[in-house]
Amino acid sequence: MAAVAAVAALWAALQPDLAVILIGWVPYLAQGFAMNILISVAAIAIGSLIGLILGVMELAPARWIRAPAITYVHIFRNAPHLVLIFATTYAMPFEITLLGGTVAFPDWLKAVVGLAIPASAHIAEIVRGAIQSIPTAQWESAGSLGFSRLRTLRWIILPQCLRRTLPAWMNLYASIAMGSALASLVGVGELLHAATDASTAVRRTDFTIAVYLTVLVSFFAYCYPISRLTQRLERRFAV
């Protein structure tokens, strides 16, 4: 990080006029980046909730519960994020009528749904894998203690899963955070889109390069700490 800052400082010193223009665009770009953070946090939150339910459904004894979950996971794990964002943006309504009133359904929220769908499919797989990794003997002993199947899941199995799934979950979070840049292609005003706006307004080759590099560095600053933390957790949880 220090090296990046040093390079940036050196470059700014060599190109003062360019640096001034770039600094002028910082608020506009920052607004865009806030959108990336909002989209990624919302998408992973919704995705985790739905994924948890789907993961448990995948292991249900009843076929009619299991089959739809398995099909959903297979399709959306293999679907490109970009295509899902296109699908949600262009095919979902812009507002929803709920209880007589209309609620706006803005583009960024559609991008959230577009990313939450694949996120939930991946999380379902993570959850399924984690539940399966817990020895079946625990289910049996919990049963003999009078726990129902759902209560066993809630109080005994899932708490253990949480620890095991954390690194995989964080990897997914980083991947969804990076996926939020795809929303620029459907016109959501996030960072990459803001950079194109800035580049169109300034119309200078060197500025164009500088602004896209700024986008690259911003995402790195967001995702790298997540990835470092993941590695530390992986090492700590490694058996």
Partner: protein, 249 residues
């Protein structure tokens, strides 16, 4: 010009509310069919490129020489922690323009959009492969390495004949997962006018009103490709299995 069977099909579909009228326009049909071909070509080019680059990166990551390991580590971290689309924008809109300028005019630039997509997405995949292989190389038991050294293998020979083959087997499930991601990432080509299936569909649906129809086809197409990729992966895993190595429950 269009054969009657096709016209019939388009009409029947329309009566069910499905708009596939573009099939009667020769150029749109060509763009669309070319889209399937281009996606498959991208996948077929990118998989070997990412694997070869991934192995080279893994070798560099585990090298004892700092001048080799450090740049490899920086590259891997940078690639893994920035969005592919942003990398592609930087490469295609930025780097590509600089290359054109330094070669004295845009006409001299030999690199096309296809090249940049293969490079950026391929190296993105390679960075993930490299991490998986590195973990695999580090998982090779010390006793095996000692045995190899005792047999007179040098460092590079050990890497080539002992560590990589074993690491490949350990890392194979992760690598197959990475390849599935790679297949999905080919869609970013649409942002730089590489004529893959998403691009082809955009070109058609912006002139017509059939987003949903084309979207369903894309989703089914990618499901099919990834089903094939993961099946080949499973087959390889069984095929290459070494008794006692990387046993998974």
């Amino acid at each position: 010009m269009a054969d009657p069977l096709l016209l019939d099909l388009v009409k029947t579909a329309k009566s069910y509310g499905i708009n596939v009228g573009f099939l009667t326009s020769p150029h749109e049909r060509d763009i669309w069919l070319e889209g399937f071909r281009t996606t498959l070509t991208l996948v077929a080019t990118m998989i070997p490129v990412s694997l070869a680059a991934g192995m080279a990166l893994a070798a560099a990551l585990t090298a004892r020489q700092r001048w080799l390991a450090l740049p490899a580590r920086v590259f891997v971290e940078l690639t893994r922690n920035t969005p592919t689309l942003v990398q592609l924008s930087c490469a295609f809109l930025g780097l590509n323009m600089l290359i054109s300028q330094s070669l004295g005019g845009a006409g001299q630039n030999p690199f096309g959009a296809f090249f940049w997509v293969v490079l950026v997405v391929g190296l993105h995949g390679a960075a993930y492969h490299a991490e998986a292989l590195r973990a695999g190389i580090e998982a090779v038991p010390d006793t095996t390495l000692e045995a190899a050294r005792a047999l007179g293998f040098n460092r590079l020979e050990i890497l080539r004949w002992v560590e990589l083959p074993l690491a490949l087997r350990i890392a194979l499930p992760t690598i197959v997962n990475n390849l599935v991601t790679l297949v999905k990432l080919t869609t970013v080509g649409s942002a730089v006018a590489v004529g893959e299936i998403t691009y082809a569909s955009i070109m058609i649906w912006t002139q017509r009103d059939n987003v949903v129809e084309l979207m369903v086809v894309i989703l089914v197409f990618f499901s099919a490709i990834n089903l094939v990729v993961s099946q080949i992966g499973l087959w390889l895993e069984r095929r290459l299995a070494v008794p006692g190595l990387g046993v998974r429950s």
